[in-house]
């Protein structure tokens, strides 16, 4: 039975050929190249739309700025500027308003009894101060020296300069043989010492009835007017506030013979 092994009725399958598996290889470079290309395209499209959007934003901002600029009213600005300038000018003059009465008061307090002011020139030097040029007549050198000392000690007068001194021989006149001294002095009073204060007490000379009834002015205010008292003469010594201490000026003497 040798052929028994070959005579099996079960058909034999042909032995299958071993299948050859072919693996598909994906290269990294390929992936990268495709990714890069797609990303570039997407970026280009995105950048295009973003640029368009930004340009619209710029136009909107420009329009908003123009609208804001057009809201600015030149007429209002001019009105405010003009008012401000006027106010500043008025304030600057108010700040530098002075009271000459203070200067006169200082002069009165510092002028000695034996001195007589013959002439007085008061000049305002801008907004710095006053320059007083005065001619004073005294009896002798002692009075002159004392007068100068009084001016120097006065708190309101900050500069004293005797520019000229003239010895007058008055022997032929009523003084009975004595000589007088004529001083020319320049005094300086700083503006700060004579600043006007509306609260300061007003010293006024009572007026004559005719002066009180004279025409009113629309612009003069707070004047000491209309009191209706009579004044004896032009040499009245009313409203004098000088002290009676030694060295104080004798306004009566000044009024009668000088200023």
């Amino acid at each position: 039975m040798d052929g028994s092994s070959n005579s099996s009725f079960i058909p034999k399958r042909n032995p299958s050929r071993p299948q050859r598996v072919v693996a598909k290889q994906v290269y990294l470079f390929t992936v990268i190249s495709y990714v890069v290309f797609v990303a570039t395209l997407v970026s280009a499209v995105g950048v295009f739309f973003y640029e368009h959007y930004i340009d619209k934003q710029v136009v909107k901002e420009v329009e908003a700025l123009d609208a804001e600029i057009s809201r600015f009213n030149e007429a209002d600005m001019e009105k405010v500027r003009s008012f401000d300038l006027r106010l500043e000018k008025a304030w600057s003059r108010l700040e530098h308003s002075v009271s000459l009465a203070t200067v006169f008061k200082a002069l009165e307090e510092a002028t000695v009894r034996t001195a007589q002011i013959k002439t007085l020139t008061l000049e305002r030097m801008g907004d710095q101060g006053f320059k007083l040029t005065t001619t004073i007549e005294t009896n002798d050198f002692d009075s002159s020296l004392f007068q100068r000392e009084m001016y120097e000690q006065n708190g309101t007068i900050d500069h004293v300069e005797i520019v000229d001194l003239d010895i007058q021989d008055t022997s032929s006149e009523e003084s009975g043989g004595s000589s007088g001294i004529l001083l020319s002095a320049v005094l300086g009073v700083p503006l700060s010492a004579a600043i006007y204060s509306p609260d300061a007490p007003v010293e006024s000379v009572p007026l004559t009835n005719s002066a009180a009834e004279s025409s009113e002015t629309a612009s003069s205010s707070e004047a000491g007017t209309g009191e209706g008292e009579e004044v004896g003469s032009a040499d009245s010594e009313a409203a004098s506030d000088t002290d009676s201490s030694s060295g104080a000026p004798d306004t009566e003497a000044i009024n009668e013979t000088g200023l």
Binding site: V62, R86, R93, L100, T121, G224
Partner: protein
């Protein structure tokens, strides 16, 4: 032989690089500049808004000032000075002070006088100590009186509703014991005087 696939991939890379350098990068630069512009415009708009708001506030302040305060300011610092009115006021003030009015002249008017009162030319812009231009008008007032009356006159001048600044005061003794005073008085205007030299030319 070069494989087709590799060629395509290389082409894709090259095209991508070209797009980046020729379009995307310049566009990014342009976008950056545009954004800077936007920021600047916004900043400027903010400033203009601040100015407009401040102007509106100042206008509101101005409109809240009372009519009487406005009137006082206009009296104190008028646009123009009426020289005749000032001369009238000086005449009245000198009479009210008790002095004897002698003469008053203005820098504008040339008036023959019997006294030797000096006339000064005026209306030159001056600067006060704060540097603002002020147009000043000078008047020369001559009076006679006693020392106290002249003091009263000066005191009244400084209380006037508009400035009457005494720039110079000369006092001399007259015959008979009276004093003669010559006052150089200055007042101010906000605007320069109207020029009439070239009127209708």
């Amino acid at each position: 032989m070069i494989p087709k696939g590799l060629f395509t991939q290389l082409l894709l890379i090259i095209v991508s690089v070209a797009i980046v350098f020729t379009y995307i990068k310049p566009t990014f630069t342009s976008i950056g500049e545009t954004q800077d512009k936007i920021v600047r415009y916004q900043a400027e708009r903010g400033k203009v808004q601040e100015v407009n708001a401040e102007l509106a506030r100042q206008v509101a302040l101005l409109e809240n000032i009372s009519a009487s305060d406005n009137r006082k300011l206009l009296t104190y610092m008028p646009d123009h000075v009426d020289e005749m009115a000032v001369m009238r006021d000086l005449h009245t003030i000198s009479n009210n002070a008790g002095t004897i009015f002698v003469d008053v002249t203005s820098g504008d008017l040339e008036k023959p006088t019997t006294r030797s009162s000096r006339q000064r030319t005026t209306e030159t812009p001056a600067e006060d100590s704060d540097g603002k231009k002020l147009y000043q008008h000078t008047f020369v007032l001559t009076v006679d009186g006693s020392y106290n009356q002249i003091k009263n006159l000066v005191s009244t001048l400084e209380r006037n509703e508009y400035p009457l600044e005494v720039k110079k005061l000369d006092i001399i003794t007259n015959e008979g014991g009276f004093l003669s005073a010559e006052l150089h008085i200055v007042t101010y205007s906000h605007l320069p005087p109207v020029e009439t030299e070239n009127l209708y030319e």
